[in-house]
């Protein structure tokens, strides 16, 4: 009996190893490495000038890297840029579109450019417009006359047109109102499992809701990589509880003594009417709301509010970027932190 060959797993949709891009003496990105598995939606976060767009443009083969390896579906971008472009749908920042063309004309033109077979162009364009809700209202409109939300939809329709394995979106929700952001989020949710998506955005709650994993980049280096729960554990190991009760700090400490030995009172602020607002800290993995409530009830305390403040992605982002700033600034302690010039595109 021949031994059964183990089934080979598909290559990662995006594989970046030690990617560095220099502009003169300035390193826009420095040794960036990460992987995106097929079907995953990954958020790419970072302050302005952190190197997000440079990384995305390098992944798409729009600019060469100074060193490092980028593979799309196992194909190296540097040696085979035109083959990798067949696997990528890219929506650049500000979503540039030709103003004079109609939506239908533009998508058909893009489908032909992306080598969609002639017989399938109509079907693919109709499907992309259906997914992006362009079919009824915007089908024959001139792009220059479309609202910002519809323009973004045209950009996303273009990115998914050729059914690529990887979709790269640079700030897809920038400048949209909350309704439009919600519909774009639903649209991205529709792609889950079918395509790998990498999205850069400043709107952190959106990233948290729609992405399986988050990569945070600062000063050209990856400072955090993982899902929200892992990052919470790494960057914010303590969770805050907010209590609004009629007990002062000493009384509260006595009441909470038996809850958990790691629960500590962080701050206490007296309010106008004999009430105090306390902020307590405990390890993130513990959920102490119930025991705290039981202890307070047993002590006949009057409770106005008890809340477990879940740190959101914004807190993680701030903590991760602050930590990377501190690490960079450590050798320069006592002096001004060195400025990082913006790369010229």
């Amino acid at each position: 009996m021949p031994e059964e060959q183990p089934k080979e797993s598909p290559p990662p949709a995006i594989e970046v190893i030690g990617l560095t891009k220099r502009y003169g003496r300035v390193k826009a990105i420095d040794g960036v490495s990460f992987r995106v598995e097929p079907g995953q939606i990954v958020g790419f976060l970072g302050p302005n000038g952190a190197g997000k767009s440079t990384t995305m443009r390098t992944i798409c083969g729009l600019q060469p890297a100074s060193s490092g390896i980028v593979r799309i579906c196992g194909i190296p971008v540097a040696t085979n840029p035109y083959e990798t472009k067949r696997h990528i749908g890219y929506m650049p920042e500000h979503n540039p579109l030709p103003e004079d063309m109609r939506v239908l004309e533009y998508l058909r033109y893009r489908a032909r450019l992306k080598e969609v077979p002639m017989g399938k162009v109509k079907a693919r364009v109709d499907e992309a417009m259906e997914i992006c809700d362009l079919q009824r209202k915007a089908r024959r409109k001139v792009i220059g006359a479309l609202s910002k939300g519809y323009r973004q939809r045209v950009g996303i329709a273009d990115a998914i047109l050729a059914e690529p394995d990887v979709i790269v979106m640079d700030e897809p929700t920038i400048g949209l109102d909350p309704h439009q952001i919600l519909s774009i989020r639903n649209l991205i949710d529709n792609l889950r499992g079918r395509m790998s998506v990498i999205i850069s955005s400043h709107i952190l709650p959106e990233i948290e809701k729609s992405c399986d994993r988050v990569i945070i980049i600062n000063q050209g280096r990856i400072v955090a990589n993982g899902n929200s729960a892992d990052l919470r554990k790494e960057f914010l190991p303590k969770t805050t509880y907010r209590l609004n009760v009629n007990l002062n700090k000493g009384d509260l400490a006595r009441v909470l003594a038996g809850v958990h030995h790691e629960l500590s009172i962080d701050t206490s602020t007296p309010l106008d009417d004999d009430y105090w607002e306390h902020r307590c800290k405990a390890p993130s993995e513990l959920v102490l709301t119930e025991p705290i409530l039981e202890n307070l009830q047993r002590a006949n305390a009057r409770i106005r509010e008890l809340a477990r403040l879940q740190p959101n992605l914004e807190d993680i982002f701030m903590a991760a970027t602050r930590r990377s700033w501190d690490e960079t600034a450590a050798p320069f302690k006592g002096r001004t932190r060195p400025g990082v010039p913006m790369p010229k595109h």
Binding site: L62, P92, H94, P96, L97, E99, D100, E105, K114, E115
Partner: protein, 241 residues
């Protein structure tokens, strides 16, 4: 994009108005005084007017506008190479330019239709000079359109691209003709340069073609310069995308 942009149609209408006017002027001149050259020959002698004005208008938008809007970036993320992009821009402008010139072919027939037998058709339509003239337009058009596309790739501002291509075209077309008239070329020691200047003199080429002489040297000159410019343009698009 060229056929969708309203600017192309405005440029086409202006071109037709200009060429109709030029043809009318030469027709009047030929009717009022005796001349050695036919109306068609005189008409082709003014080829530099539409070239200097129309080609910058047609080509200035091609790459500069794509770069300004950022659509060049989205274009570069498709499997199309920079050479594909440059060639497609070049060919679309070239065929539109040739289309505009073919619109002038019926001029002698329209005149003959309205004037009647008083002016025989062979006075207005000399097949040899017409074929020669249009062949020159088609061959020289390769270089002139390549100049326009090259200028458009240099900048993201269409106006700058237009001015740049106007200046280069002006030098390419008229420099040869003007240098021949410079007194220094009469000196014996620089006699060699006269041949060189004549080699690049577009009017000299036109005169040959109009006589029905289809010379391969201008074809080589325009063809090689076109390929050189398109190659440089491709490199610019690749590096600046």
């Amino acid at each position: 994009m060229l056929l969708i942009a309203p600017a192309s149609y405005v440029a086409a209408v202006l071109y037709m108005l200009l060429m109709t006017f030029v043809y009318y002027i030469y027709l009047n001149t030929a009717a009022s005084e005796p001349s050695d050259s036919t109306v068609a020959e005189m008409f082709f002698q003014t080829f530099w007017i539409p070239v200097c004005f129309m080609i910058p208008l047609l080509t200035m938008k091609s790459i500069a506008e794509e770069r300004r809007l950022g659509t060049l970036e989205t274009l570069m993320t498709t499997p199309a190479t920079a050479l594909h992009i440059v060639l497609s821009k070049f060919l679309s402008c070239y065929f539109f330019y040739i289309f505009l010139w073919t619109m002038t072919i019926p001029f002698p027939f329209i005149v003959h239709y309205y004037v009647g037998e008083s002016v025989p058709l062979n006075l207005l339509f000399n097949p040899a000079s017409m074929i020669g003239g249009y062949s020159f337009i088609a061959i020289s058009g390769l270089l002139y359109i390549a100049v326009g596309i090259f200028a458009s790739s240099m900048t993201r501002n269409q106006l700058v691209a237009g001015m740049l291509s106007f200046c280069i075209l002006f030098v390419v077309i008229l420099a040869g003709a003007l240098m021949v008239k410079l007194p220094m070329l009469d000196s014996n020691w620089i006699q060699q340069s006269y041949d060189l200047v004549n080699y690049v003199n577009s009017f000299e080429h036109l005169a040959d073609f109009s006589r029905g002489v289809l010379d391969s040297r201008p074809l080589f000159l325009y063809g090689s310069l076109t390929m050189l410019l398109l190659g440089i343009t491709t490199l610019i698009v690749e590096s600046k995308a």
